[in-house]
Symmetry: C2
Amino acid sequence: MSDSPNTSLVSASTKRGPAEYFSGTSWVTMLAGDNPTDCTVADVTFEPGCRNNWHSHPAGQILVVTAGQGYYQEKGQPAQLLRAGDTVSIAPGVVHWHGATANSIFTHLAINPNVKQGVADWLQPVTDEEYRAAHA
Amino acid sequence: MSDSPNTSLVSASTKRGPAEYFSGTSWVTMLAGDNPTDCTVADVTFEPGCRNNWHSHPAGQILVVTAGQGYYQEKGQPAQLLRAGDTVSIAPGVVHWHGATANSIFTHLAINPNVKQGVADWLQPVTDEEYRAAHA
């Protein structure tokens, strides 16, 4: 056995999600950053009440929920409640947000294929009114 | 909230890994199959002693270990022990195998970007001698 650069222990690399793109506190752990597949994988934990801004991904994104409960909402659509084991496939360019419910932590893997096309195009924050409506 | 085709509950779709590509019993749950990102995500559980054949991926692969202990080995390199939280980024065309240790179950997400380039090119089984050597 050897310690190859192909494998990485990730426990030491958690960072706060950037305040300009999140309402509330989130924690981002990059599991697979720059690598030869051009696909990145991050673990994102939202504290209760935290959500990211409206945004889209030039090459789409897949979410795999691993803990807690949260919401995923596409612009003009009702919010969808997500629980551990749920996955969401987000087409390129689709405007959406995701985040925890008001009362639960929410953790998902964020899988971003073809990041050389760009990672995310960030828009305005989800308003308190929009966020409350997701819980209705 | 609504049940959109973007989300999927995956509990009902587990299948045995194909016997021609695995030595031993594995269980494959597709979390994100055909979808607009051209990136697929599957949960793969190997029973103790189970491993897949030597193979490569035309567009590479990322493994995210979620439970148990297993090995990842590239052709000509020593095997690497993997535990929950470890990730492996596999470059396109690199010949390798992965699977459980002799005494532990092993579960990882298998993330395959750009599957329109092809998913996997399968080769010969990992011999008992090669598998035992991984444990040395």
